[in-house]
Amino acid sequence: MTAGIDLGMPATQAIRSDEDVVRVRQLVRTTAVAAKLSLVDQTKLVTAASELARNTLIYGGGGAAEVTTIDDGLRRGIRIVFTDQGPGIPDLDLALTDGYTTGGGLGLGLSGARRLVDDFDIRTGVGEGTRVTVTKWSR
């Protein structure tokens, strides 16, 4: 899991519709700007968040994103936790393979999001839902 202390309360955005996915992007952008992430890092984090929020909606049947600004003593970062109570992912290695999709997508959401962030952690089990935690640090 991610090291570092939380700065302030997390902001939570429910993910129940297409429009909520847009709201997650906006929330992450605002938080990343405030934490002074570079433009490229903001863009990478918002893109990763967009992919994961869409997965939460489509495969997880909806859920929430929790966005927190953190500090490890040296630098600031943004942590986002996506949770859903959906079916879970039976084969995680397969789901993390570029191009693998069960829904007619491009299969780049999970694998691509993992490349775009600094820390990536996923907890999932069949029938237990899915929880994806990502962190991006300022540099």
């Binding site: 863009t43 869409r54 997508g105 691509g112 775009l116």
Partner: protein, 136 residues
């Protein structure tokens, strides 16, 4: 749901995406464009993404789909105005945007479409079915 407007400028359709599109809005744009290409007989589509601060796999797939659909409908699509940070992120995400022509800005995009059309006519000249190709 918001809808992205499509402008007709001469022989070209110009789409300037100004909003953070929901997935539904993106799908709607794809359908609207296909209809407008046929209704107007346009041979070129320019999609200006200057205002887009991210392109994720859904929007990337939509751009590829628009390029393929317009090709089938005898129109060229050019995506213009991609921000550097967006380009860097796309590559790391793993999106290849296969089959999509890109240009720096709308003006260059129009030149690219004009050149592509000229090439097609030129090639058609040497073909046996030159007449049908040239007049289509």
């Amino acid at each position: 749901m918001e809808r992205v407007p499509i402008l007709k400028i001469g022989d070209i359709l110009l789409v300037s995406i100004q909003v953070d599109m929901s997935d539904q809005t993106a799908v709607q744009l794809q359908e609207d464009l296909a209809e407008r290409i046929v209704a107007t007989g346009s041979h070129g589509v320019i999609i200006d993404i200057t205002a887009l601060d991210i392109v994720d796999s859904f929007v990337g797939r939509m751009l590829s789909a628009i390029a393929s659909i317009s090709k089938v409908l005898d129109a060229e699509t050019v995506v213009v105005g991609m921000r550097p940070a967006v380009a860097i992120t796309l590559v790391e995400l793993g999106l290849s945007l296969n089959g999509i022509r890109t240009a720096l800005n709308v003006e260059r995009g129009m030149e690219l479409i004009a050149a592509a059309r000229a090439d097609e006519w030129h090639e058609a000249d040497g073909d046996e079915d030159a007449e049908t190709t040239a007049t289509s």
